[in-house]
């Protein structure tokens, strides 16, 4: 479902119409333009909007020495060149269980420079633990050497501070066979015992996924994923009799709409 741009009034075309400056001669009234029109609705960013959905990960995880899981990570956004609305979600659901961890974020995103967007909004956790809502602030974009970067800071409704850094890179083996290493690191400024979160670095997750892009839209992949809890967080997991780390083979599809 590649976004169709909302077709208002069915005319799609005054792409290059509309005066950016109200002219004294009074250009003829324009009818409502609809489509991707950088030039309609002059003077505010209303004309040129599009929708994007990238499902970066949608995979089954065959966990060694543990329960298998279903993992997802997607981002949908809508808007124009500068201002966009972002809906992001990631999480893991273990077989026969509720969510191990899952969250959804709703953010306002704004271009800051050629390559980065500043983002702010809310995050809500869906996991088993005491539910939390957070304020989110961060940055997402393309770092030098084509590294996709995401750095987010969270403050929970209990006043707890935490942060996350994610990096991803596409290594083109061929133009369709692409190896994607990624790493995610979580850090907390406050210990939250009831959520088994220690202070400092909580966990690191790293993966290597090999996808084949039949089209840009549809790319099945296989890969490996390794998660490891760190520091106090690892000790809390020990206390609860949980695994400190998990290695899995993964198989899934990446989708871009």
């Amino acid at each position: 479902m590649r976004a169709t741009i909302v077709r208002g009034a069915g005319l799609g075309v005054l792409l290059f119409g509309m005066s950016s400056v109200p002219s004294a001669q009074g250009l003829a009234q324009q009818s409502q333009p609809d489509l991707v029109s950088g030039a309609s609705e002059m003077g505010h960013e209303g004309a040129l909007r599009w929708f994007n959905l990238t499902v970066d990960q949608l995979e089954y995880q065959f966990v060694r020495n543990g329960r298998d899981g279903l993992k997802w990570d997607f981002q949908a956004d809508y808007g124009g060149d500068i201002n966009r609305v972002v809906l992001r979600s990631e999480g893991t659901k273990l077989t026969g269980d509720s969510y191990e961890e899952a969250e959804v974020q709703l953010l306002y995103s704004r271009s800051v420079g050629d390559f980065y967007d500043a983002q702010g909004g809310i995050r809500y956790d869906l996991g088993n633990d005491p539910r939390r809502a957070y304020g989110v602030f961060g940055i997402q974009g393309l770092a030098p050497y084509f590294v996709e970067l995401e750095a987010l800071a969270f403050v929970s409704d209990e006043g707890e501070f935490s942060g996350r850094l994610e990096a991803e890179y596409d290594l083109l083996i061929t133009n369709r066979l692409i190896l994607q290493p990624n790493v995610e690191l979580n850090v907390a400024l406050n210990q939250v015992r009831e959520r088994e979160v220690g202070r400092g670095f909580n966990d690191i997750e790293t993966g290597l996924r090999l996808r084949y892009e039949f089209t840009r839209v549809f790319a099945p992949y296989i890969g490996v994923n390794y998660e490891r809890k760190l520091g106090d967080t690892a000790d809390f997991a020990d206390d609860e009799g949980e695994d400190k780390d998990a290695f899995s083979f993964v198989s899934g599809i990446r989708l871009v709409f």
């Binding site: 590649r2 976004a3 169709t4 741009i5 069915g10 005319l11 799609g12 075309v13 005054l14 792409l15 290059f16 119409g17 509309m18 005066s19 950016s20 400056v21 001669q25 250009l27 003829a28 324009q30 009818s31 489509l35 991707v36 029109s37 950088g38 030039a39 309609s40 609705e41 002059m42 003077g43 960013e45 004309a47 040129l48 599009w50 929708f51 994007n52 060149d81 500068i82 704004r110 271009s111 800051v112 420079g113 050629d114 390559f115 393309l142 030098p144 050497y145 084509f146 290594l171 083109l172 083996i173 061929t174 133009n175 369709r176 840009r216 871009v256």
Partner: protein, 601 residues
Amino acid sequence: MSKTSNPLGLSRRRALQLSAAAGVVSVFPGRRVFAQAASTYDLVIDRQSMMIDGHRSPAITLNGSVPGPTLRFIEGGEAIVYVRNNLSEDASIHWHGLLIDPAMDGVPGFNGYTGIPAGGTFTYRFDLRQAGTYWYHSHSGFQEQAGLYGSLVIESNKREPFRYDRDYVLVLSDHTDEDPSGIFQNLKTEDGYYNYRKQTLFDFFQDAREQGFGAAWDDRMAWGSMRMDKTDLADVTGYSFLVNGKGPKDNWTGLFTPGERVRLRFINASAMSIFDVRIPDLPMTVVAADGLNVRPVKINEFRIGTAETYDVIVLPEERPYTIMSEPIDRTGYARATLATAHGMEAPIPALRPRTLLTMNDMGMAMGGMDHGSMAGMEGMDHGSMAGMDHSKMGGMSGMNHGAPVGGNTMSNPDAPDAVANPPSEMTDSMGGMDRGARERASANQAAVGWADAGTLPGEKALAYADLRSVTTNKDTRPPTKDIEIRLDGNMERYIWALNGERYAYAEPIRVAYGDRVRLRLVNTTMMAHPMHLHGMFVELEDDTGANKALKHTVLVPPGKEVSVLLTADEPGEWPLHCHLLYHMAAGMMARFIVESKTASL
């Protein structure tokens, strides 16, 4: 169909042309006649489909065909064109390259024109003030990509400075099965969406073998640090490339009798493609550029930017010839044949290697560019667009600008893009189309740099510097002011702009009637932009003589500057834009206003 100069012969030929193009010509004797006979045409816009190489593709048609009929007129007469729009959206027709009453220029939102409403009609009436090869196309949405374009030939009412026995129009275009607005969204989502020829790990290993690991690594790091891609030659792929609406297998064929001089009117009516055009074993003599006559130039090939036109004369012998048009990213080709009988074919040459961009194409060495004005992101309201992140460029100082192959330090005196202030020798801004050939030791060496078409050694490719108008320039005054028009882009976001501002937010450029100005087209991006000014011709400022070539569309190479002179003698609101359709849609357009005569008197 011999060439005659009397109107009767002309109308007979026109009738033949039109029957071939499935067009309809109707003459209404009862209509009021202006100075000369008016030529009247009916055009009907429909959403239908077309066949390309046996494959059915959605299209917008004119009188049932893509391209639309060739409209033939006589200089000095009047054109009357009735257009019916059967689409469910507004449409428009713009007469590309014509000196015209602004109200008839056909761009919605300019000069009070509002387009042709869905299901409605519009009557165009305008005087034919010039002769030559022109074309027409939609200026609404992405209709041009879908097929709404055609050719327009105005016969001279004077004696032509060259002779020919036969006359063909060759409309080059690119066609896709995809919905053009979907293409635009894909580009917005990911600028490399259509590029399946990026450099890969295998390319890296090959480069490492050839140049050494260190050099290959440094090269990748240099491009990576800028987040730029040296394979970014074209934004869209998946095109069928057409000649007169025919695919390579359809093989549009023009017949000739040996001994005839054949005039070929090439029009690049594509949405996004720049073509390298040649006819193996058949030299061409260029006699007109953008519709206006130039002093004859004998060449083997030419590069034609989107929306440009070139007329050439050829003298084919008794054998078939392939007319080969390769887009610069070499993702396919348009093919046609010149033959003495239908069904004949000549060999189709192998596609030449595509070039890779170099640091010079990035404008890395352009002195005098005010990067400061580009980079600032403080003006965040409109997400000001730096063409590149120059803070990152600082780290490039240690780079070998000369690129590994073919040292780029030779200055080339006959460059197409000589600039008013020639940059330093480092720049190689003098990328004459035939530079690559002269630099390559052998023909099988890879092409280097945007300007390198892979021309064979000993062959001549047309350069702008070769073009000289046959008529003396009317206005020889020096320009009283320079207007810099920076061609800016942000690849990552697929934003394109002029002077750092998208069209929707830009202030118009204003000049007084009669002003003599220099337009400095400064390309800060790594893609070439065919810049088109409506309503007037500009003079290529590549020599100081009085026969500067006149153009309506000027191809500005990556990282280079091309300056042109303009006498602003056509009052009106004129679009100035990049003729790559998706660049224009993304904001690469400005309103160029020539004040009315009274304003300046």
